[in-house]
Structure formats: structure tokens, C-alpha cells
């Protein structure tokens, strides 16, 4: 009986040691996983007005080489109160964070958002170029 108990405890101990030696992925300062992915690009871009309806007239043109996002918005769009939405490659994140409405009215100085890859080693600044539709 004692022998069986000893064998059982030994098996449990080995199992616990094996489970404890698993590799954990590290997290960054935002609590997001840092992975092995080096891809770094924007896959889609949406722009919503104060009524949370899109103000784009058509799909944006995203140049992943030049790192630009060309988007045409409807005539009369209130550029001071827009809600941008970026779709990024898996595990990437955006800087600065978007926490609410954004003022895009300064067309001379377009806004730049930096995409950071999953492994946090690749950084690509994307420029959002807005044009307003003619009436």
C-alpha cells in the first residue's frame, strides 16, 4: 500500500514539474502579447462621423510600401469630429492609441499613426491622407 502511494505521488510530482516548465509568452506595457510575428501593415481603414456612419465615399487606398492611406470623404464631412478605425495585421498594435474622436481638419499636416509588429521590433508610420469629395 505504501509503495502504491509513493508511486502515485511520484507521478504527480513529475506531472507538476512538466507543466511548470511551459514557456510563457511575454506581454508588453499595454498587457498585449508579444509574439514572433514581424509583419507590420494596415489591412483596412474606416472613418465614421458623429452619427457612427461611414463618411468614406469608397474603399481607402492603402499603400503598404509608401505607408500611406488615401481616403476620400463625403462632401460636407465634419473633419473635426471623426472616429478612425484601423484594421491591423495579426498581433500588431497602433500608436498613438485611438481613444475617441479625432480632428482631421488640418489637411496640410496629415495625421501619422505608427503600426508596431507583433514582436514589437518593426515600426512603420502610416500617413492618413484625406481628400474631400467635390459637391
Amino acid at each position: 500500500m505504501k509503495q502504491y502511494i509513493k508511486i502515485g505521488l511520484g507521478v504527480l510530482l513529475i506531472a507538476a514539474m512538466w507543466a511548470g516548465c511551459k514557456k510563457d509568452y511575454p506581454v508588453d506595457e499595454d498587457g498585449l502579447l508579444i509574439t514572433d510575428r514581424a509583419e507590420c501593415y494596415v489591412s483596412n481603414f474606416e472613418l465614421l462621423g458623429t452619427d457612427f456612419i461611414t463618411v468614406r465615399t469608397k474603399n481607402p487606398v492603402i499603400d503598404t510600401i509608401a505607408c500611406t492611406i488615401d481616403v476620400e470623404v463625403q462632401f460636407g464631412t465634419d473633419l473635426k469630429n471623426l472616429y478612425p478605425q484601423f484594421s491591423l495585421v495579426t498581433d500588431a498594435k497602433l500608436d498613438p492609441k485611438i481613444v475617441g474622436k479625432v480632428d482631421f481638419s488640418d489637411l496640410e499636416h496629415p495625421k501619422v499613426y505608427t503600426v508596431i509588429s507583433g514582436n514589437r521590433k518593426v515600426r512603420k508610420p502610416y500617413t492618413v491622407l484625406i481628400t474631400v469629395q467635390e459637391p
Binding site: D51, T57, Q74, F75, G76, P135
Partner: protein, 328 residues
């Protein structure tokens, strides 16, 4: 060994005992009351606007062998408008789900803040509906109600309801704005005017309705007279009509009291007070059905929410409804 088996068996038996002991109690029918009783529920929902009704259902009953109900009355802390009444019919819901009214007394009589129905039919149980039409005097105040029933055996029973806050805001429904005709909107008057009337009320005109189907992303629009001329194409404004009104587009905010009975959303005074209209434009283009616009007049006196009930592209018109709060 025997002791071990004894312990295991005792433990199992104890478990079985606990499981079987958790029996559900059988339901017992409640016993009927022996005295006159009453109860009341508020049926209407949403902000209490001046001119609208607060609706209650007041139930009263006593055992048939004790007597019958003689009268029912409601006393409000602020007298209701003249259309306030207590139903003289008692309602029940039939098997088809339809409410059927049975007359049980004379039509109600209003004496000041008290509304009374005198029963003319022998009945020991009734549910009467009370419709309190909110008067102008109650605006911004709170109102309470005392429901009272009397029976033939000399008993009286009462139920207090409230207090209920009465909103400060106003409402208007189904204004029709039409391009080139009644297209000048006054938030103060909660009315629409044509160009000739707008000229005589220039200081009250806050928005102009336009329909421009030939322009990109324009269609139905609410534009301040003081907006950039590119947003006022092909229109000559009457002299003096030049205010710049703040306008913020909205969509899907279907206030039930603005013609959306299917929805349970309400705009109240607090929504106007907490509204942030910083850096908003003075126009809203490309409005669709169920769109809306939060509006603040140029002098900040009024804030309003304009809801688009219906659009008519062929007729170049919209039907709008509005809630408005005087801010100062």
C-alpha cells in the same frame, strides 16, 4: 478493515439522506383577503412631458359578502389639466388578449385636484384607469397622487404613488419641411415657416431645410443660415436670416416620444444638459430616415433634438419631430 468499511458505508448513507431530504414544498393556494384592498401600477413610461398623460391602473376589491365598492377617487398634488379623467369602465383582458371595458359608474368629475368616479353598478372588484394630463403649472416640478376607494361597509383604503418628476422640455411632432416652401425652422417657436413668414421672423429662424439630389452627399440637409455658402446652394435667404446654429448629426436615436412606438429610448432633460457640442459644424447634410440632429441655437438659449421621421426624395421634403429644452 471492518472499521474502514463501516466509515465508508456511514458516509454514503449520510449523503443519500441529504439528497432525499431536499424535497420541494408543494405550492399552496393563497387565501382570499377579508377586507377592502387596493393596488396601483403606473402604466406610462418615459419622461413626463407637459401635455402628455401619466397613466395608472388602480385596482380595488373586497369580498362580495362584505359589500360593494361605492366610489373611487384620485387626488393629485398639482391639479391636472381639464382633460384629466378617471375611467368609469373596469377592464379585463379576454382570451384573445383584448382589453374589454365594462361601465361601472358615471363619468368622472374633476373638482380641483381631485377626480372622482361614483359607482352605479354593484361590483366588489374593479380596475380603473386614471389619465393625468400634465398641466403647464407642473413643469419642472414633482407630482404625487393618492388613490382612494370606498366601500358600502364604510371602509376606506388608499394608496400613494409618486412623486414623479415633470420634465422641463417640450415636444412637437410631425412638422413637414419642404424645399422651396416651408423650409425655415424656428427652434424657439418649434415651427416651420415659408420665406415670406421667415422674413418677418428673421431673428427666430435657426435652420433651413434643403434638398439637393443633384449634388454629391447632400440630399436632405439642415443648414444654418449663417453657414458657408457652399452648403446653401441655389437659395436666396430672406433679409436678416443669418444665424449660425450648432448642429451635430445623429443616427438611430429613435425616441419613442418622437414617433417611434416600437422603441424604448427616451431623451430627457439631462441629455440636453450634458450635451457636448464643442467644435460641431453648423450644418448636417445627407440626412436619412431615422437620422437626427442635436441642435443649439446661436445664443445658446435652446437645445433641441430633431428626429427625421420620414424623407420624401420626389417631394423634396422631410417630416421631422422635435424635443426642445430652454437652457437659459
Amino acid at each position: 478493515m471492518k472499521r474502514k468499511y463501516f466509515h465508508y458505508t456511514a458516509f454514503l448513507l449520510t449523503l443519500i439522506l441529504f439528497v432525499t431530504a431536499c424535497k420541494e414544498e408543494e405550492y399552496k393556494l393563497p387565501s382570499a383577503g377579508t377586507e377592502l384592498k387596493n393596488d396601483c401600477i403606473k402604466r406610462s413610461l418615459g419622461p413626463n412631458l407637459v401635455g402628455l398623460n401619466i397613466e395608472f391602473a388602480y385596482a380595488m376589491a373586497l369580498p362580495a359578502d362584505k359589500g360593494k365598492i361605492v366610489s373611487a377617487q384620485v387626488e393629485a398634488s398639482i391639479a391636472g389639466a381639464s382633460s384629466t379623467y378617471l375611467e368609469n369602465k373596469s377592464y379585463y383582458t379576454n382570451s384573445g388578449g383584448v382589453d374589454i371595458g365594462i361601465p361601472i359608474g358615471d363619468p368622472s368629475v374633476n373638482e380641483g385636484a381631485t377626480t372622482t368616479v361614483t359607482f352605479t353598478r354593484d361590483t366588489s372588484a374593479a380596475t380603473l384607469r386614471y389619465f393625468y394630463t400634465i398641466p403647464e403649472e407642473a413643469r419642472g416640478k414633482s407630482v404625487s397622487f393618492t388613490f382612494t376607494a370606498k366601500s358600502s361597509d364604510g371602509k376606506t383604503v388608499s394608496q400613494k404613488m409618486g412623486p414623479y418628476e415633470i420634465a422641463n422640455m417640450d415636444r412637437t411632432l410631425n412638422l413637414i419641411v419642404k424645399d422651396g416652401d416651408a423650409s425655415y425652422i424656428s427652434i424657439e417657436d418649434m415651427a416651420v415657416y415659408n420665406a415670406a413668414d421667415a422674413a418677418s421672423k428673421a431673428d427666430k429662424i435657426d435652420l433651413v431645410y434643403l434638398y439637393r439630389g443633384n449634388l454629391n452627399s447632400f440630399t436632405h440637409a439642415l443648414v444654418s443660415p449663417g453657414a458657408d455658402p457652399q452648403y446653401l446652394p441655389d437659395i436666396a435667404l430672406p433679409s436678416g436670416v443669418n444665424k449660425s446654429t450648432k448642429v451635430r448629426k445623429e443616427f438611430g436615436l429613435r425616441d419613442q416620444q418622437l414617433g417611434n412606438p416600437k422603441y424604448g429610448i427616451y431623451i430627457d432633460d439631462v441629455d440636453f444638459k450634458e450635451l457636448d457640442l464643442t467644435d460641431v459644424p453648423n450644418y448636417a447634410l445627407n440626412l436619412k430616415e431615422e437620422a437626427g440632429a442635436w441642435v443649439e441655437t446661436a445664443d445658446g438659449t435652446y437645445r433641441a433634438y430633431i428626429f427625421v421621421n420620414k424623407v420624401d426624395n420626389a417631394g423634396k421634403s422631410m417630416t421631422i419631430s422635435m424635443k426642445r429644452l430652454k437652457m437659459k
